[in-house]
Symmetry: C2
Subunit: 134 residues, 2 copies
């Protein structure tokens, strides 16, 4: 009913609901401890598996900053994130385009921005050829 070979377990529902119901961008560990309040016997493995699955299903998003565990976001609207390098909090930047200048973001968020990470991912010309052949 959800996707292809996915049965809807209580655990999966709970994990989704937890990630959706917060703006804190929780880690897997955060989700685990919240889930335990409702389902004391839920396991870490289950939390990780469902987070990964929900992410592949496009129901939640993963947020990766260097040197810190992956965080999850139940807000699927198009937005970017800003992290405080002191306290580690992650906040939303609503609907910002790649063109946005750093000083505009500083004004909006009141952050003192010192680092901008921009990364592109795609298929290289060589791999494009390969997939045409196969």
């Amino acid at each position: 009913m959800e996707g292809h070979n996915t049965k809807l377990s209580k655990q999966r529902e709970l994990v989704l609901q937890i990630v959706r119901s917060t703006k804190m961008h929780p880690t897997a560990e955060d989700v685990y401890y919240k889930a335990k309040k409702t389902m004391p016997r839920i396991s870490m493995g289950t939390v990780y598996r469902n987070l990964r699955l929900l992410s592949k299903m496009g129901r939640i998003k993963e947020i990766n900053f260097p040197d810190s565990p992956t965080r999850f976001d139940g807000d699927m609207r198009d937005h970017y994130h800003i992290r405080c390098s002191e306290c580690g909090r992650i906040e939303d930047i609503s609907h910002f385009s790649p063109r946005a200048a750093v000083d505009e973001i500083e004004k909006l968020t009141m952050y003192q921005i010192h680092t901008v990470h921009i990364k592109y991912e795609g298929i290289c010309p060589e791999c494009q050829k390969k997939s045409k052949i196969s």
Copy 2:
């Protein structure tokens, strides 16, 4: 002579030279195996320690893409990176500003871009207050 409390060891020099002398954006493991050819007794710990140190000293840069080990870049000129999601290679995008549009990059690199990561890091208003006090 280098930084604050840094003595210039043979190992440190070698690690720096290896990272500087390639455009492959090597992992710590890559650097380790290259280093072993010159210094067969060098240890992983030494490689990691020096990569971290050189990075803090501003002599090399770290590149973090999700789900893959950290890579290092001896090219300190301002530039971004693009990764192929098929083969994992990382290439330079010479001197590109954040304003650059994706289709411009596609034309330049011949990649089929499907993901853009933009991340900002800075100090949040709360932490700015804290550091004023202390």
